[in-house]
């Protein structure tokens, strides 16, 4: 049988297997190779909380979805065109994500009686049982073929079986017309030093997988995805957590202040601390603290001592940091707090994504305690968001909360590498001269920005005390009612003034109409795709996306007032919608919410937009 090559605009592939099967690596390799090939792409790892859940069970299934295409790839995709299921449990957990036209590739060797039972199948026809028997089924004895491929390699059977993900990857490369050279180079680089003996066997398995797919006569169609024509320049792949760490390092360079990160490991934020720990050559100091509170408190100490101070965490950790956040507000010290949100409350579902910490970020402290809040909208955008968060913190002498999401932190995308010469210098308001009476006044404010000066210990003559107790402008303790009211108002006004320094909201579409679709944070790509889809059907909608949440951009009220209805889409029960309503009570707000620990599907957003119109 001769296979037919079909031109496809975009395809979604989901690799699924046991958490020890190497699916994250397989998926990443496929993604990286596609990026170099010139496709647009977006990825989403979907893994269990357990490091190694019982083998073969549904709870131990690890998945990696990658969406590649010639244009308009804004999300990892809703449903997949190819599901790779390395065992029955992977099929059980993921069959529901298959399109009606999907191919399902399984390792038949794993579908023995024991495996089927472990996955919870009741019949001996897993496809029929899951209602996917009409999909294109590719049933291949992958384990056996891998063993055969490597029988002369001299490797032991355990090591050989570990290579079956490479066999599968080879098959996927055939189906999607991917050249193998990139993976060859990767294998050569990765194992050159420590395990040069595994390079050739892996290459062989990969090639054998590719050739098997070409020869097996079961694959009727293969697909060609034309490379897109992205902007010229140097590209790389980057995850949100990596981009966050690098954005902070960029702010350190542009401010001339050493970076200090005090953090406690927590999923899904740990990657930022790990990344910063690598880059000591840029002067970054990381302190893995004894707990979340020590994470932020060491950072506050470092800030007082003149560093660009950062603490990174996720929702439960942010709860523990609340009191110390108040201290940073009171002491008016710069600090960046990164919250990579996950499904809550409490421990919740640590590996799943949500936007449910917005209220906590805005309000989760005692007293009148304003903290600016910014949010990243894509993995690579975490770089700019972290840079901007640090710039605001340092120039306005305030803690700043940066909201990221598990979906962004672990997700990756190709990124046109920027040049640091295009980023602004960060200029903190250092105290340089003493007033006539010779006494530094730590809370005397700039009349325009209301920002106090920053005197760093070690500066002769600027000795002063800060702390959690209310003080007057001179830095002297005060419980005077009028002074307290004044200081509360000034701290709030200082944060409000930041709106003069941030970009205006960018309106996508006409300034007036029936419906404005609003989002913030990591839902950016899904909402953009949904709006484009609706427009393609001839409907008129406008769209805005908030990167700056508190304070909101100056033109927010003006934009909202141009629409009959405002549809706010977010992965919580309506926290941003309620916040907007508080600021602009005359807006007719419609909420579209999802709290399942999963990103939006473009299809459900399309339905919501049509319903709102």
């Amino acid at each position: 049988m001769q296979h037919k090559v079909i031109d496809a605009k975009d395809v979604v592939i989901r690799f699924a297997g046991d958490s020890g099967d190497g699916m994250q690596l397989t998926g990443s390799l496929f993604a990286d190779m596609s990026a170099i090939y010139g496709n647009q792409l977006s990825t989403f790892p979907d893994y269990p909380a357990e490091i190694r859940a019982p083998q073969g069970t549904v709870s131990g299934v690890s998945g990696f979805q990658v969406h590649i295409g010639s244009e308009n790839v804004n999300t990892p995709g809703d449903h997949c065109d190819l599901l790779v299921a390395m065992n029955p449990a992977a099929l059980m957990a993921n069959a529901k994500w298959c399109k009606r036209t999907a191919m399902i590739l399984v390792d038949s060797n794993a579908f023995d009686e024991a495996g089927m039972k472990k996955a919870g199948f009741k019949t001996d026809d897993p496809f029929r049982e899951l209602g996917v028997e009409d999909r294109v089924l590719i049933v291949a004895p992958i384990t056996e073929l891998t063993e055969l491929s490597l029988k002369d390699s001299g490797m032991d059977i355990k090591a050989i079986r570990k290579c079956k993900n490479m066999f599968t990857l080879g098959m996927a490369c055939f189906i999607y017309d991917r050249p193998l050279d990139y993976i060859f180079t990767y294998l050569e680089k990765k194992f050159a030093k420590k395990h040069p003996e595994v390079i050739e066997p892996n290459k062989k398995v990969l090639k054998d997988g590719f050739n098997y797919a070409a020869n097996m006569q079961m694959i009727a169609n293969t697909y060609h995805i034309e490379p897109s024509h992205p902007k010229k320049g140097t590209y790389r792949n980057i995850t949100g957590n990596q981009a966050t760490a690098w954005g902070l390092l960029a702010a350190s360079e542009k401010s001339g202040l050493p970076l200090f990160c005090g953090s406690y490991p927590i999923t899904p934020a740990t990657g930022i601390l790990e990344e910063l720990a690598i880059h000591k050559s840029l002067g970054a100091k990381t302190l893995q603290a004894e707990d979340e509170i020590a994470g932020i408190c060491t950072a506050i100490g470092a800030s007082y001592a003149g560093n660009l101070a950062v603490t990174t965490t996720s929702g439960p950790g942010l709860s523990l940091k609340s009191e110390a956040l108040g201290l940073a507000v009171m002491a008016e010290l710069p600090l960046v707090v990164v919250d990579v949100q996950r499904a809550g409350p409490s421990t919740g579902i640590p590996t799943k994504t949500e936007q449910t910490d917005l209220n906590q970020a805005l309000y989760g402290r005692n007293g009148e305690c304003p903290i600016p809040v910014v949010a990243a909208h894509s993995p690579s955008n975490c770089f700019d968001t972290a840079f901007n968060a640090a710039k605001i913190a340092l120039e306005h002498m305030t803690p700043v909360m940066m909201l990221s999401e598990g979906f962004l932190g672990n997700g990756s995308e190709p990124w046109l590498i920027p040049s640091m010469k295009d980023y602004p210098v960060i200029q903190p308001p250092f105290a340089t001269s003493l007033p006539e009476d010779g006494k530094f006044k730590p809370f005397e404010r700039d009349p325009q920005t209301l920002v106090p000066k920053w005197a760093i210990p070690g500066q002769k003559g600027f000795e002063h005390r800060v702390g959690g107790l209310e003080k007057n402008h001179d830095g002297v303790l005060s419980s005077d009612p009028a002074n307290h009211a004044l200081m509360v108002a000034e701290r709030e006004a200082k944060v409000q003034k930041i709106a003069d320094f941030i970009p205006e909201l960018q309106l996508d579409g006409p300034a007036e109409g029936k419906l404005l679709v609003v989002g913030w944070g990591g839902t950016y790509g899904h909402i953009l795709s949904a709006v484009n889809e609706v427009r393609a059907e001839g409907l008129e909608v406008s769209r805005v996306h908030f990167d700056y949440i508190y304070p909101v951009p100056r033109n927010t009220g003006g934009i909202l007032s141009g629409f009959d209805k405002v549809l706010v889409c977010e992965l919580n029960s309506g926290q941003f919608a309620n916040y907007l309503l508080g600021l602009f009570p005359d807006t007719k707000i419609v909420k579209f919410n999802k709290v399942q620990g999963q990103p939006f599907l473009v299809s459900e957003l399309v339905d919501a937009i049509k319903e709102a119109l």
């Binding site: 990026a35 170099i36 010139g38 990767y186 902007k231 010229k232 320049g233 140097t234 590209y235 790389r236 792949n237 690098w246 390092l249 960029a250 360079e253 200090f260 880059h279 000591k280 050559s281 840029l282 002067g283 970054a284 100091k285 302190l287 603290a289 004894e290 509170i293 020590a294 408190c297 060491t298 506050i300 100490g301 470092a302 800030s303 007082y304 001592a305 003149g306 560093n307 101070a309 009191e323 108040g326 201290l327 002491a331 590498i417 640091m420 210990p457 070690g458 500066q459 002769k460 003559g461 600027f462 000795e463 002063h464 005390r465 800060v466 702390g467 959690g468 107790l469 002297v476 303790l477």
Partner: protein
């Protein structure tokens, strides 16, 4: 460099501790010790940062004319840690109470000691919560009757000395608030020690726990009920300097010189620099009436410090790495060109 004096460290703020509170004397000792430390180490005044948590003693930074940070309950040790790691050139002093350091801040306290960060912690131990008006603390004696233990506590207290040594502390000293001279001496030694120095000051709370330490602080009997340890000196005490400590099997024993065949030669010599903390632990654990309570520098040993470690690692990696700017970083690893 101009010589600094007591007055240079006094701020213009009115001291608001109760009359008779032991904290006054500790503050005075610190203000007298720092000029000496400054001339010994050639430190300018702007190099000092005084950090505190919450509690009566945590008001101390306001009374010092230095950089100061009055933080939140229990967290002083974490704040101090951040300051020292961020800028090891600064010299950090910390004031904290027994509730602040050992209850709500216990975790930070033990970890700072474990890491051996070069900070100087003055632990004001009055065995009571004073600022909240009289509840028992983690150092209150078993059975202590307080507002929250009207029938007596049913929990064992911490002995700060054993806690510090258990966490592999490199410096521990103990004193009484009224021992002004000794306190200056201890604070100076703590400043010279490179690593986490804990100075337990047994202070009197005149309002809520008056006389908590009277059995050892009373001038009439103090010399017989306490022993001041100094490195290299015999462990001799008593009004008549006739009592001493000897090793008896695996423990310590109090003997009278000239009785039971003991001579001055039998008395132990204090070795604060001894790596093995065994004898330091025994000394720190001595309780009246079986033993005199040990005052002075009980342990002072050298070990690598966390702040030096962090600084040196950064320097080392800077020398070895190929990445020296963010532009280098952005282009590191796997990249590709689009023409």
């Amino acid at each position: 460099m101009a010589t600094l004096s007591f007055k240079d460290f006094k701020s213009d703020q009115e001291v608001r501790w109760c009359p008779g509170c032991g904290d006054h004397a500790v503050l005075a000792a610190l203000q007298r010790a720092l000029p000496k430390v400054s001339s010994a180490l050639n430190y300018e005044k702007e190099r000092y940062v005084v950090v505190s948590g919450i509690g009566c003693s945590s008001r101390l930074p306001y009374y010092m004319d230095t950089y100061g940070f009055h933080s939140i309950h229990g967290r002083a040790t974490a704040i101090s840690t951040g300051i020292k790691v961020a800028n090891p050139w600064l010299t950090v002093w910390q004031a904290c109470g027994d509730g602040d350091a050992l209850a709500i801040g216990g975790n930070h306290f033990i970890h700072a000691i474990r890491r051996n960060i070069d900070i100087n912690i003055i632990l004001f131990n009055n065995q009571i919560y004073g600022l909240t008006k009289g509840q028992y603390s983690p150092t209150s004696k078993f059975g202590a009757i307080t507002k929250t233990s009207p029938y007596g506590t049913v929990e064992h207290p911490f002995n700060p000395g054993s806690l510090v040594l258990g966490a592999k502390g490199t410096f521990f000293a103990r004193s009484l608030d009224v021992e002004l001279k000794l306190n200056e001496e201890i604070m100076t030694a703590a400043a010279l020690h490179d690593g986490a120095s804990v100075m337990e000051m047994l202070t009197n709370c005149v309002i809520f726990n008056d006389g908590a330490h009277r059995n050892i602080s009373d001038p009439a009997t103090r010399a017989d009920r306490t022993i001041i340890l100094r490195h290299g000196e015999k462990m001799i005490f008593g009004k008549d300097r006739d009592k001493g400590l000897v090793l008896d099997g695996l423990g310590l024993k109090v003997v009278t010189i000239g009785q039971d065949g003991y001579t001055e030669d039998d008395i132990l010599v204090h070795d604060a620099h001894c790596e093995n903390a065994g004898i330091h632990m025994m000394l720190a654990d001595m309780k009246y009436p079986d033993f005199p309570v040990a005052l002075g520098v009980i342990r002072d040993v050298k070990d690598v410090t966390y702040d030096d470690g962090v600084r040196d690692q950064v320097k080392d990696v800077m020398l070895k790495s190929k990445i020296h700017s963010v532009d280098d970083l952005l282009h590191s690893g796997s990249t590709w060109e689009v023409e």
